[in-house]
Symmetry: C2
Subunit: 323 residues, 2 copies
């Protein structure tokens, strides 16, 4: 491990990084200093990654832990339609952790940061007796008035998702079972679980062109997150089971369960007024977009099954106060 | 404890708060949205408060934990000379924690927030198997170019501190010993330890009038923090033991040790070009200000003892990688 806080900070300062725009003061002082472009609003978000909750030392290599810790917060910026800019990392490092682990953690985080044009400008660090805990703050920008919220969905709006859902949950299951990793779908699922891609470009596309009436990211599972979007908008939704893009596995019921309730996909969920639907491509930069349902006035979620059978859908994704 | 994340978030949203200026979107969406005034730069800082590192359940009431968690970050904004505005709180709550503890934690934090005109606009929460961990982000503002850094001290500058140092360390000692709490100094020390005041008004005074050449807050102890200021500025310093304002206890050597190495005082340490010294009052809004030494060219710290005897001063405050 690093011998002193100063040694750690100096090591951090030397890491190669994306040359952040408008950073006036980065790592090493009491606080960081940045400029916000005129006419822009500031987006702030923070997400924790906790050992034995969000990651397990046995399953997640440190590069993946660093990648995922940042991806969670980048995805929140995507979910507002904003542009991520600056990162602060708080790291409570378990005493059992090696310096090599910390270095690989930052390598994973900074590789992702570079691709998304964000720069780590500060944070906090401590060595602790218990489990490792990470908290990642991302500050982003968006032109005034353009941010997309969870509230805003109207009855009659179309409900869309990006990508395929449930892959991350499947990937975690494969990692835990240590079996069947050879299958193509398993390999893809593991990749999605360990190195998820936040959908910042899509979020920006939806906000810049004012296409979506509501937008959020899928972090806790479709059933749970859609319930939140509907609650914020004061509406309900009807989902078509056959249109929900789940993992390509043999058991269609299990694929649907993973897609509905598996978390950590970091895809985007958005609603569209029908008049805007023609502006949505079937693929955005290679990422498939799917209409999976529609917003309706009666509260609650309804799932339309394969033979047109309706059943109520309860939120059964991740809840940090229940698990 | 709260039964679900939604229940917790709704409880948070109903808490009475300072009506934050220019908050466009607060708690409950994917991220928070604020405006930064034209001509201002944004200050970002984050500080962790970890159970069994920064606080102990046995010694620190939850109101104090909430107060101190926010005070740490407010003090970092003070240390830049800025104005704090917005707060994000990440809270990993130990499973052993009661709902009453969490409520009192927020009461303590929000009472301080109100007095400093800051508003909690977001965060993250989870219930965890291990110890409670808190990470508090504060975003502040400062007119462009006015921020005061650790770098900037010049040989010949005067070295000043606000308030009295070592009180927090003394307070912790008294709390641990559960003895001698009746003495006036002990009561004050406990108060300073449990409910420290960040010195935002003084920081702003120093930055607005461009008085200080370097500024930082004292969180890890004078000997450690001064070494950091000197390293950032590429200078050394000479301290006069008799001028360092320590706790008023019977043993003068122990008082000096507490003042030099005791952490968590959250007073300000600043350097002044001699030409600016006449602008510094002996008290700022009731807070005493003391010149305790001077900056010199040779690196390292020297302590001038009571009889003019010189000895080198090694950093012996708090280091999160060593303790």
């Amino acid at each position: 491990m690093f011998r002193t806080e100063n040694e750690f900070v100096r090591w951090l300062q030397r890491l190669p990084q994306y040359p952040g725009r408008r950073v006036r003061l980065g790592i090493g002082d009491d606080a960081a200093l940045v400029q916000v472009a005129r006419g822009n609003e500031l987006i702030l978000t923070t997400d924790m990654s906790l050992e034995d909750v969000h990651f397990r030392r046995r399953l997640h290599p440190p590069r993946s832990v660093g990648h995922r810790a940042l991806a969670r917060s980048l995805s929140d910026i995507a979910a507002m339609g904003g542009i991520p800019r600056y990162v602060l990392v708080s790291l409570a490092i378990s005493r059992q952790t090696t310096r090599a682990w910390v270095e690989d953690f930052y390598r994973g985080m900074l590789a992702l940061a570079k691709r998304y044009g964000v720069v780590v400008i500060g944070g906090d660090a401590a060595v602790v007796p218990g489990r490792t805990m990470i908290d990642v703050v991302v500050a982003g920008e968006i032109p005034r008035g353009k941010a997309l919220r969870r509230a805003g969905a109207q009855p009659g709006d179309q409900l869309w998702v990006s990508g395929r859902l449930g892959l991350s949950a499947l990937g975690l299951r494969v990692l835990k079972s240590r079996a069947g990793r050879r299958a193509t779908e398993a390999a893809e699922a593991i990749q999605v679980h360990l190195y998820p891609e936040p959908q910042c470009a899509l979020g920006r596309f939806l906000s810049e062109r004012r296409l979506a009436s509501a937008l959020m990211d899928l972090s806790d599972g479709l059933s749970t997150d859609l319930a939140r979007l509907c609650e914020a908008s004061g509406v309900g939704a009807r989902l078509w089971a056959e249109r929900i893009p789940g993992p390509r596995i043999d058991d269609p019921d299990e694929s649907l369960r993973l897609a509905l309730h598996g978390g950590e996909d970091y895809q985007l969920l958005f609603t569209l007024p029908p008049s805007k639907a023609s502006h949505i491509p079937s693929r955005f930069r290679g990422l498939p977009l799917h209409q999976i349902g529609e917003i309706q006035e009666p509260k609650g979620l309804l799932l339309v099954g394969r033979h047109g059978k309706l059943r109520p859908l309860e939120p059964a994704g991740w809840d940090h106060f229940q698990k």
